[in-house]
């Protein structure tokens, strides 16, 4: 399992990847962000969650430094005990939300993925 970001021909990186990057640049390679740590830019604890989502749901926007190029990601936190500026690392979980609940087709939202855990 990997947490794939995309590096584009112009050197920029995004998570998630897009068919075209900044400036219309084409994707060049994928980078596994799960091998990196990141800094918490901001975070929240959501108490009004949709069907199939844990409650409370701790979320953060984090920033990875990949060889001097920054890339941001959003993800669940393993705990609500965090502060802006903390260092976190991605840890794999088998299920981010219950696929059978909610508006989307179950098969379209059967996701494993990563949560961010304070280092």
């Amino acid at each position: 399992m990997t947490m794939d970001a995309t590096r584009y021909e112009n050197g920029s990186i995004s998570y998630p990847g897009h068919p075209r990057g900044p400036g219309g640049s084409n994707p060049a390679e994928t980078i596994d962000l799960s091998e990196y740590t990141a800094e918490v830019i901001t975070w929240t604890t959501s108490t009004a969650t949709p069907p199939g989502v844990r409650e409370p749901n701790h979320l953060a926007i984090v920033e990875f430094d990949v060889d001097g190029e920054s890339v941001r990601a959003i993800g669940q936190l393993t705990t609500g005990d965090v502060e802006t500026g903390d260092t976190v690392q991605p840890v794999h979980v088998d299920e981010l939300r219950e696929p059978g609940a909610g508006i989307r087709e179950p098969e379209s939202q059967d996701w494993d993925g990563y949560r961010f855990e304070p280092v």
């Binding site: 995004s14 604890t45 959501s46 108490t47 949709p50 953060a60 993800g75 669940q76 939202q109 993925g113």
Partner: protein, 386 residues
């Protein structure tokens, strides 16, 4: 190019409309708008419906055609406009284009949404489905984005938490004088700061409610407007713009590029600037959005909107620039597809001198309608006809 006029406006009661569905709400606003404008349904060339999710909320599709029949407006051309929460603003842009291009001499725009029959969780999920799957899989909701952004704003600009509560308190106070608002009740800052946490650091009263409702506008060329009335409003500037679909990919989380770009376009078209605006309706789906739009539209410097709110600059009766005299989405309610239209209804009434106890001294007004979390935005500038 001939200027586009607005010659009629209407808005249903916003709130919980039990037993009524999207087609009922649209028809109510549509019939009232026809009457307000003094236009026969036969004379409507184009009929637009702003609506985000009638299919998802109630399994009802094809609403524009249903409305044409309910209003007896056949054979008017019909079209549905979906741009999530900015469907109403996008409808204004589409209606403006239909008239400005010469394709239509009379365009009726009706925005509406029926939401309250769903639970809060279900409605939140319908709205959250607009997010990218990399966001959606985390369980993120639009309120969560507001919490993430509000924390970043407060920490970065050293703004007091109370300043956000003052936005909510101001808009609730304005809503007291709007008989069609969902809530007509003042809420003080202390109550707001003690209400339950929804997306830390934001609490219940930092968020708009889930709402049923509809609003409508009648647009035509200025030359046609003069056949109907001596008093009308013109759209002097309008533009729409997008920002990243993935919210965390924005360079600065406190800047909504769609607000900045659509504002620039609307100002340029109208030949006006922020200092020329007398009254504004901003998309306060969450209190933090009022700050971001004030800054993106040039009413405040970046990171300083909270100071203007603290100083009372945006108060209705005493402020230099009254914002959300209608009560805003916060107090008036937020039936998704109707909200952008209802913003323009408030500005129309202000410019026509028809706002009753909410009336301010205004000849120029602006509304900013935000879709997603700033993913798509429409800014409209309106002026009383000279």
């Amino acid at each position: 190019m001939e200027r586009v006029a607005i010659i009629g406006a209407s808005m249903t009661q916003f709130g919980q409309r039990e037993g009524e569905w999207i087609t009922d709400l649209l028809a109510e606003a549509g019939i009232e708008c026809l009457g307000d404008a003094g236009v026969d349904a036969d004379d409507v060339d184009h009929l637009y419906v702003s609506n985000m999710a009638s299919g998802e909320f109630e399994g009802q599709t094809g609403v524009p055609n249903a409305l044409a029949h309910d209003l007896d407006a056949m054979p008017a051309y019909t079209q549905r406009i979906d741009q999530t929460s900015s469907s109403g603003g996008a409808g204004i842009y589409a209606a403006w284009q239909s008239v400005a291009s010469g394709a239509s001499d009379m365009t009726l725009l009706v925005g509406g949404e029926k939401m309250t029959h769903k639970t809060t969780g279900e409605a939140t999920d319908v709205i959250a489905s607009l997010t990218h799957r990399a966001e959606y899989k985390t369980g993120v909701t639009l309120p969560s984005f507001a919490g993430l952004t509000a924390r970043h704003y407060l920490e970065r600009f050293d703004a007091p938490r109370e300043s956000l509560a003052k936005v909510a308190s101001k808009n609730h106070k304005n809503g007291v004088d709007n008989p069609k608002a969902q809530f007509q009740k003042e809420v003080d800052v202390e109550t707001i700061l003690e209400s339950p946490i929804i997306a830390d650091p934001l609490r219940l009263y930092d968020f708009c409610p889930i709402t049923d409702g509809s609003a409508a506008l009648m647009l035509c060329p200025e030359s046609v407007a003069k056949e109907y009335t001596d008093e009308y409003v013109v759209i002097s500037g309008i533009d729409g713009a997008t920002d990243t679909h993935v919210v965390h990919e924005r360079e600065d989380p406190t800047v909504m590029g769609g607000v900045v770009e659509s504002g620039k376009g609307a100002y340029e078209m109208s030949g006006l600037g922020p200092d020329d605006i007398d009254v504004a309706e901003l998309h306060d789906m969450f209190t933090i959005l009022e700050f971001l739009q004030m800054e993106g539209l040039g009413f405040a410097e970046h990171g300083e909107a909270w100071k203007l709110v603290e100083e009372g600059y945006t108060e209705r009766d005493t402020g230099e620039l009254p914002i959300n005299t209608s009560g805003g989405l916060k107090s008036k309610g937020h039936p998704l597809g109707a909200s952008g239209v209802a913003q323009a209804v408030e500005i129309y009434e202000q410019l026509m001198g028809e706002a009753g106890p909410r009336q301010v001294d205004a000849e120029t007004g602006l509304c900013c309608n935000v879709g997603g979390f700033g993913n798509c935005v429409i800014t409209t500038i309106m002026e009383a006809a000279q």
